[in-house]
């Protein structure tokens, strides 16, 4: 990494750890477009819609779409694609707002769905 980014070397010290520029992939955006929120364990799937004329998916967009041909929890996607969560969320926002990706399930607080709780209990007890 060079320091020709306008900030100079003052960002780099022992405490800072590795300073990276993951948001280069998102053209500097740190929040998903359209105010979308993506929970860690929300499940997404690619819609197989073609990209609209004004939107040219980047390589990371295409990787995500590829991985989401099956319903995929966002945390698994993020782990697999090895990009920071915030970056993945911005990319997911691009894809959902262009209709190429759909959120299948989302979690709310508190979890009161007794069927889900029962599934978790049965699963744990079967371990």
């Amino acid at each position: 990494m060079t320091s020709h980014d306008g900030y100079g070397d003052r960002w780099f010290d022992r405490e800072a750890g590795p300073v990276v520029r993951p948001y280069a992939l998102t053209k500097g955006r740190t929040l998903p477009s359209g105010g979308a929120t993506f929970g860690l364990i929300d499940v997404v799937i690619a819609t197989s819609e073609r990209p609209p004329a004004h939107f040219r998916p980047g390589p990371e967009h295409r990787r995500i779409l590829n991985m989401c041909r099956r319903p995929t929890p966002i945390v698994d996607l993020t782990s697999e694609i090895d990009l920071p969560l915030g970056v993945v969320r911005v990319l997911l926002g691009d894809l959902t707002s262009e209709g190429m990706l759909r959120v299948l399930s989302t979690q709310k607080q508190p979890v009161t769905d007794q069927r889900l709780l029962r599934m978790v209990l049965d699963g744990l007890e079967s371990l």
């Binding site: 900030y7 960002w11 800072a16 750890g17 590795p18 300073v19 990276v20 993951p22 948001y23 053209k27 500097g28 955006r29 740190t30 929040l31 477009s33 929970g39 860690l40 364990i41 929300d42 499940v43 799937i45 099956r70 319903p71 929890p73 945390v75 698994d76 993020t78 782990s79 090895d82 990009l83 920071p84 969560l85 915030g86 970056v87 959120v103 299948l104 399930s105 989302t106 979690q107 709310k108 607080q109 508190p110 979890v111 009161t112 769905d113 007794q114 069927r115 889900l116 709780l117 029962r118 599934m119 978790v120 209990l121 049965d122 699963g123 744990l124 007890e125 079967s126 371990l127």
Partner: protein
């Protein structure tokens, strides 16, 4: 997303579909209390990259489109994943201990079934921050007392007093290295959450 749509698309509503139902449990407690051990005992460990905003050093030039000039450092964390034959995936997230990671707690907590707060009887005060957080956010939790070999043993009632816990909060003695013990902790959390809900529903009906 409105409630009806949520019900329609919720994987638990369609057993046998390929859409996995997902749930998460948070594993919290002080530094060195055994969170990572507990998660590793019962689940497959996966890496997750997230980022820490360098807020005290940020330039603070945000424009209205969410374009930010803030610098972040990438932080590596792990999570646990248990995949069940019923198309359910249960995730275990350890809450990061240091103060500079507080911003991540809300992200981890949204939609959680509940939390396991691990306590070490040699340093009970270490879990106060976790208890405060989950109490304030209305997230149900159980206390898992990790029984280290050299730690003094206490009765659950003594621990309840030491932590000023409500009488209904379960306290489970555990060994984070033992699979059956960890399983017991997680089962007690889910049972507690289920009875809490049914008690609430009864209270609403009455």
């Amino acid at each position: 997303m409105d409630l009806n749509r949520f019900e329609d698309t919720h994987p638990a509503a369609r057993p046998g579909s390929a859409v996995p139902a997902t749930a998460k449990i948070l594993i919290s407690g002080g530094f060195g209390v055994g969170k990572t051990t507990l998660v590793g005992t019962i689940s497959e460990i996966r890496p997750l990259r997230t980022e820490e905003p360098l807020s005290d050093r940020s330039v603070g030039v945000d424009d209205t489109r969410g374009v930010s000039a803030k610098t972040t450092t990438t932080v590596a964390m792990d999570f646990g994943r248990i995949s069940f034959p019923s198309d359910l995936v249960l995730y275990l997230f350890g809450t990061p201990g240091q103060e500079r990671f507080w911003f991540m707690w809300d992200d981890l907590a949204v939609g959680a079934v509940g939390a396991v707060i691990m306590a070490d009887t040699r340093r009970v005060a270490d879990c106060f921050a976790s208890i405060d957080y989950f109490e304030q956010n209305g997230i149900p939790f159980v206390i898992a007392v990790n029984c280290f070999d050299d730690a003094p043993r206490f009765e659950p009632d003594d621990i309840r007093i030491a932590l000023s816990l409500a009488p209904e909060v379960p306290i489970v003695l555990c060994d984070a290295r033992e699979r059956d013990s960890v399983k017991k902790v997680l089962v007690s959390l889910v049972r507690y959450v289920m009875t809490r809900h049914s008690r609430r529903n009864q209270a609403t009906l009455a």
